[in-house]
């Protein structure tokens, strides 16, 4: 309903939205990876590579959060009746 917003608000809001969605996907991937490791259906080599990839992704995410001066609390979307996204 609010249509007037200055450019800075819009840019920050967009960055927040994008980072939130990326963070959600990252967390889902991590959960899926843990499930597969615990199920024991990955080789040692696959576990190692998966872990390194996820570790690198988390580091990159931390850098992005720092660049945009956002905390974990900022990376959340209240979806109204659906509750919070993260």
């Amino acid at each position: 309903m609010r249509v007037d917003a200055d450019d800075e608000d819009v840019a920050r809001g967009l960055a927040q939205l994008v980072l939130t969605v990326v963070e959600l996907l990252r967390q889902l991937m991590e959960r899926q990876a843990i499930r597969r490791v615990e199920a024991g259906d990955l080789s040692d080599d696959q576990v190692e590579r998966l872990g390194l990839a996820l570790m690198a992704l988390e580091q990159r995410m931390d850098e992005l959060k720092r660049d945009f001066r956002m905390t974990d609390e900022d990376l959340n979307l209240n979806l109204g009746p659906l509750g919070n996204l993260l």
């Binding site: 843990i34 988390e58 609390e73």
Partner: protein, 223 residues
Amino acid sequence: MIYAYGICAAATTPPPCRGLGGARLGVLRRDGLAAVYSRHRRLRPQPTPAQVLAHERVVEAIMDDGPVLPLRFGTQLATEERLATVLDERREELLRTLARVRDRVELGVRALPTAPTRDRAAGERTGRAYLLARAAQQRRRDRTVRDLHEPLAELAAATVVRPLPAPPALLVAAYLVDADRVAAFRARAAALDAQHDELDVVVTGPWPPYNFATEDEDESRRR
């Protein structure tokens, strides 16, 4: 432009306080329902402490008088007619939700590890160690939900648990509790806190039922 604070029963008296920017509050009544609002020529709600507190004060003042469905900070509508339409269109749902929160309050619970745990698995050197650290963290979170949330939920009419709480929190949840069970809820939370040396359990509130103002949240449980 009007700014809306909360929806309540028609019998609600106008709250004895002011709204955003010191605006006078109005009550729009509509067949068993009412909404508390203020009228503004120009208003740009920003989540500053002063504005958020003004919103919260109005919602709490409504709650002093009866059940309230708090609206999210920043809720604006074009006209009173528009607000009346919302009340008309969602009448049944709003009445049911108001009945659900009547004589109940929201309590917030956060559980944090007492000792600073290494929540960032990022310091690990191998991919395997990273994943194992993450898995351990997830198990700790699941255990916290089982040990704390379940006994607390027994005292609540409905609950909302945040699925992925921001670290280091292990549990972030909201509970809709009968006003006369708040003391029992706090006592149980304190007992759980004492039982679990590894956790700090913090109860906040009572709050207006922000997390229970809409019907049928997926995660909420009714008893």
